[in-house]
């Protein structure tokens, strides 16, 4: 059975208190983010059921939300989920070349994971980086003004770190 660390569980309870009594379901998306960060970068049915139990809602209420939002992964992904923006402002600045370059470099296509489980490539829609295009996101970090050289550097450095890149850490939230 999936279970949050003590720290994360406390944070989840604090987040629930941000909403009026009886409206604890509002904390669902923030808590799903915490769960995804803690349980390997994706949301299994077991993890979603656990989140439902914390919020005292039905599992289906979690599934229908998790399947709606593009940041929630319902299948395993690599340690580093590389999300490259493909929308027009990035396209104007060469995102197609960047995507092709990464596909070739990692020998994977959009949506696939490298054999060693290190990288998953995903093309995504506008991430609000149109003035610093082309760009990609990995975890909570934005990598902007990409060139093939900078992509090389980023990928080697991610390999070297060999750490799961997550959207959120518990310390992003203040203690209240």
């Amino acid at each position: 059975m999936a279970k949050f660390s003590e720290d994360t569980y406390d944070l989840a309870l604090r987040l629930i208190k941000r909403y009026p009594e009886g409206k604890q379901k509002s904390a669902l998306i923030p808590i799903l983010h915490l769960a995804q960060a803690e349980f390997g970068g994706w949301l299994s049915a077991e993890v979603m059921d656990y989140v439902a139990s914390i919020l005292n809602i039905k599992p289906i209420e979690v599934y229908e939300v998790a399947s709606f939002y593009s940041m929630f992964n319902l299948k395993p992904v690599g340690k580093c989920l590389i999300e490259v923006c493909r929308t027009a402002p990035c396209w104007l600045k060469g995102s197609e070349d960047i995507i092709q370059y990464i596909e070739k470099k990692l020998s994977i296509k959009d949506g696939e994971t490298t054999k060693d489980g290190m990288f998953t490539l995903k093309t995504v829609e506008c991430l609000g980086s149109c003035g610093t295009a082309p760009m990609m996101q990995c975890g909570h970090k934005y990598y902007e003004n990409l060139t093939t050289d900078s992509v090389d550097e980023i990928i080697s450095s991610l390999k070297e770190q060999n750490q799961a890149q997550v959207y959120v850490s518990n310390d992003f939230f203040r203690e209240n």
Binding site: E61, L92, C126, F172
Partner: protein, 451 residues
């Protein structure tokens, strides 16, 4: 140099900290409002300022506030829309990253005006690093006594929270945002009832864009009438423009509304001209949802007047020959850009982002993407162009929320202004095989093509 009221201090080191922000005059609007004004007086100043919603619709903010229902004993909410997802737009991100306290300050002053005791900043999940920045700013404001119980000894209480989304363009639509904030799928609600009557948890709610909320700070500090002197006509104040695409100096610029589009693109103070000194081909002036304009109609209106950066001037001529200021997501295409490929790209975006609730949008966006894909890749037929216009016209106005319109408009506008380019793709499929087909030889009209 134009006047700046939002990015005035963004170059000052440490402006993201409470200490420096306060030293530069931060949180004065809270003191002024809470100590010397009634909530209604604050609303009155916002009305006088002429401020219009900066998220894209341009609806007068003071009027939106005055619609808020105030039944006794029912909570009211202010929700800041920081879901910024409109392609081409990155101004809110810039503002929150550089100067998070101006948003926190605006939230406090606006919440006081509306009588909200709990307020939320709904921010797109991809901006998680900004959640950290905002959370810190909010903690500092609590510590300084500007948030929490009995603010400045006035008896007014306010709690402010950041709430992350999880990747859904549709959550920028205010009722979808409220659904999402309630922990549900981001499906827009039928209106009426409007959020002002039944919004978050069915309570009266105001939803405002980041820039709109931030603008409340200078409005209260200067007074509504003084703020209204900035800008032109009914486009009062300053506007943050996210400039991107093929220009020399992309970035976020605060402009006084009323400067000319030509100045904005070519002056060194702003975009600095077209990258590599190529020719300007077209521009989307207000985020991906607004009609694209070819160079001629961008710089001058159909009547031959200079086109200005204002709500009125950019929409002059309606959709036949004009566009919209929208969210200020301004991106520029040089001569090498293919309008068909760009339009296909947008259709793919709207298809991906349609929530799926309304059939015309769910199905229509998919069909537009498919048809545009085949035209762009040299498999189109001449009747596909009219088919696209037909599909677009059947989405527009037939959906619960404006995403359908936003998907239809760019397609209709691209065909309206660049029909020959679509015809070229169909007539000369072998010439568009290379994805960068206009890089070597820009398209200059069908009569210039020798097959």
């Amino acid at each position: 140099m134009g006047r700046k009221v939002l990015l005035e201090h963004d170059h000052i080191e440490g402006i993201n900290t409470y200490e420096v922000y306060r030293r530069m005059g931060g949180y004065r609007s809270v003191e002024k409002a809470i100590k010397t004004m009634s909530p209604d007086e604050v609303v009155e100043e916002v009305k006088k300022s002429g401020l219009r919603g900066r998220g894209g619709a341009g609806f007068p903010t003071g009027m939106k506030w005055s619609f808020l229902a105030k039944p006794a004993g029912v909570a009211r909410y202010l929700v800041c829309n920081a879901d910024e997802s409109e392609p081409g737009t990155f101004k809110d991100r810039y503002l929150m990253e550089k100067n998070p306290h101006i948003l926190v300050e605006g939230m406090i002053t606006a919440s006081f005006a509306l009588g909200a005791n709990t307020s939320y900043i709904y921010i797109r999940g991809e901006y998680f690093y900004l959640v950290k920045i905002l959370e810190r700013a909010i903690a500092e404001a609590y510590a300084a006594g500007f948030l929490g119980k009995n603010i400045l000894g006035s008896g007014y209480d306010l709690d402010l929270y950041v709430h992350p989304g999880a990747g859904a363009y549709i959550c920028g639509e205010e009722t979808a945002l409220l659904e999402s904030l309630e922990g549900k799928r981001g499906n827009p609600r039928m209106k009426p009832p409007f959020p002002a009557i039944a919004g978050l948890y069915a309570c009266p709610t105001v939803v405002n864009n980041v820039e709109t909320i931030a603008a409340v700070v200078p409005i209260v500090n200067l007074g509504g009438e003084e703020y209204a002197k900035i800008g032109i006509g009914r486009s009062t104040g300053t506007k943050l423009i996210s400039a991107g695409g093929n220009i020399k100096k992309p970035g976020v610029y605060e402009i006084e509304m009323g400067i000319s589009v030509e100045d904005f693109i070519y002056s060194d103070e702003y975009c600095g001209g077209i990258e590599n000194d190529l020719e300007l081909k077209a521009c989307v002036p207000g985020g991906s949802s607004v009609p694209i304009l070819p160079k001629d109609l961008l710089l001058k209106t159909a009547a031959g007047e200079t086109r200005l950066m204002s709500y009125e001037s950019l929409s002059d001529g309606g959709f036949a020959t004009g566009s919209m200021l929208g969210s200020g997501g301004f991106f520029v295409y040089d001569q090498r850009a293919c309008i068909v490929r760009s339009t296909w790209n947008f259709s793919r975006f709207y298809h991906h982002e349609s929530c799926g609730q309304c059939s015309p949008c769910r199905e229509g966006t998919g069909w537009m993407e498919k048809i545009l894909h085949r035209i762009e890749n040299g498999h189109g037929k001449m009747h596909d162009i009219d088919l696209l216009v037909d599909v677009a016209s059947k989405i527009e106005g037939n959906t619960i929320c404006p995403l359908g319109d936003a998907a239809a408009w760019p397609v209709a506008a691209a065909i309206r202004h660049f029909r020959e380019e679509f015809e070229y793709h169909i007539k000369y499929p072998e010439k568009v095989k290379d994805p960068k087909h206009f890089h070597k030889t820009p398209f200059r009209g069908l009569k210039n093509v020798y097959a």
